[in-house]
Symmetry: C2
Subunit: 347 residues, 2 copies
């Protein structure tokens, strides 16, 4: 690899001048610039990012942290899509993304220190963590620029309207005539999970249906967790279940099928996420769509704003709307749903 020095010599100028043209400084005469550019081209020169980092203190490296609690969920398509959005945003700004999995509790501190406490990455995106997660706490304590995905305390975040989405899902069920509606939640220490539960609750109560804690099961966002929660719920004979992630809904559908229960004839199901999985399930899942890729994208954008000191407190957080995607797991096809909807409008 050629160095600045060599380019300078070839162009007959000083190192400084070459540096100026590379970094687009204004005060370089047109023909010097041309000479330098020619030399760069000829030598195939590329600035050495490490050397540059050492001098500037900027590494142009961001991290995505997957907290330990989420590690087993990593194969969930949610994270892959989130990651894709995050990488896209990084690339757009010349940043690179390093992926950190906090999977081994013993090495957690070491990994954290190596990555975040010595300025190796400029900032971090934390994929969905509860407020008491050690990584979140450490980030907050160390004042390291970070953006969370999912509502968070003390750390700016990007999220969707979980409350609204849950209300939407529950109201859809209510509208279709279901009254005895259970729900299977994610881990309740996550704030966005609490938000979804609140939306479910308020939707019921708005219709005068009392909130019944017995109808709430915690499924931990995993397929098996959901199946366990379901087995407690089923004896209570719910007419419908609002399952707060598509992955969990997949587990629910499987159990239901194995028990000979038909969806939606015997029991209706709504999911949350609209992951690619949703349309593949049998029956195709009615679910709440959240813009996952956009979430990842905006998390990085927000982080970059933060690093540039652009984000004032006023607009630290970003919230996206959600929409209900009606398929067939609740007993109406999309078309029927539309018709009943326009009928109501027409009245």
């Amino acid at each position: 690899m050629a160095t600045l020095e060599e380019v300078a010599k070839l162009a007959g100028v000083s190192r400084s001048t070459v540096s100026r043209v590379i970094n687009g400084h204004p005060n370089v005469s047109a023909d010097t610039k041309a000479r330098v550019l020619a030399a760069i081209e000829k030598l195939g020169y590329r600035p050495h990012p490490i050397a540059r980092s050492l001098a500037t203190k900027r590494t142009e490296l961001l991290a995505v942290l997957i907290p330990e609690s989420l590690n087993k969920l990593f194969s969930d398509q949610f994270f892959a899509i989130l990651l894709q959005g995050a990488v896209q945003a990084c690339n757009l700004h010349g940043y690179q993304l390093v992926l950190a999995l906090f999977d081994d509790p013993r090495r957690q501190e070491e990994l954290y220190a190596n990555l975040l406490q010595n300025g190796y990455v400029e900032g971090a995106v934390v994929a969905s963590a509860p407020p008491d997660d050690p990584v979140i706490q450490a980030l907050r304590a160390d004042g390291i620029p970070a953006v969370a995905v999912g509502r968070q305390l003390g750390v700016p975040y990007v999220d969707v309207d979980n409350y609204g989405g849950a209300r939407l899902a529950t109201e859809h069920l209510l509208q279709l005539g279901y009254r005895r509606i259970a729900t299977i939640t994610g881990p309740l220490n996550h704030l966005h999970v609490q938000d979804r539960l609140a939306g479910y609750r308020d939707a019921l109560e708005a219709r005068g249906i009392p909130y019944d804690e017995a109808l709430v099961g915690e499924g931990g966002f995993t397929e098996v967790g959901a199946m366990a929660a379901l087995s407690k719920l089923l004896p209570l004979r719910p007419e419908a279940i609002f399952v707060q992630s598509d992955t969990m809904a997949a587990g629910v559908l499987r159990t239901l099928r194995s028990q000979g229960l038909r969806v939606p004839e015997d029991i209706a199901i709504v999911g949350f996420d609209d992951s690619p999985l949703a349309s593949l399930l049998d029956p195709p899942l009615t679910t709440v769509r959240q813009p996952i890729r956009l979430l990842g994208f905006m998390a990085v954008e927000l982080l970059l704003d933060l690093l540039n000191g652009q984000a004032d407190q006023a607009q630290r957080n970003v919230l996206f709307p959600v929409e209900l995607v009606v398929r067939s797991s609740c007993g109406v096809t999309r078309r029927e749903f539309r018709e009943s909807y326009s009928n109501k409008e027409g009245r």
Copy 2:
């Protein structure tokens, strides 16, 4: 952040000595070492990785490259799991993993240059690419240490026994009495896809069933691709289909269901991958299991060996065995399958 210099001053030794104890050089007296260690502890010193990199030329950074052709597949769980394995291996060796998506053809060269041509990362893992992929070609041309996932030309690779797996799947179908067996493949420019097709073909011919090209559809590893391929295959009335990825199998099942065809009664399906999806489908998918996480893990291990000059040509590539996971998409439950199998053994 404290620097080497400050630690040295506090411990009353020179920078060199501190550097020695940090890097575990042998020739440091016990009590000097203790003093230095104490100073490090007191100041909370951590070596600055960038400065170290500049001096050593080693960045301890590896990249995982997702070629453009695979970008739309990224949400496939295959990649998430692969990535997880890769990150785990990296962490074990103190390396970090940067994720590079070649999604924008216009920025492809720039991304490649920034990441790989200036020594920013020490090496790369390329997720499944055809031999003529520009990224593979560039890597080969530049002589950059790289390991491919999936058989590759001119680049060491990790892979599974695709041929054997395909034979296994096809023979399973044959054994159950199916004779008119179609297949839906991935993109045929990938070598491992060709291997699977060869396995399918040879399994048929070993039973005296001629290979019929009309029964082969290219599905491109996507759900919609598989559905398109299926629509051409269906008029030929196959009794069974070997679908060469679980994601594609999901699409096939969906189409079949929408056309009122039952699986396995009307048509049997085998998949490939054993992704988490497989057991969630209806019916649960019989499929060929490959150790995806291990593939990612070993890709990084192999790359690291390469970087350390450990891998001689003899053992450049790594191959893993696969196994058939029998569920219910082929018309026998696992138990029945076992029984019929042991009956045969008993004869």
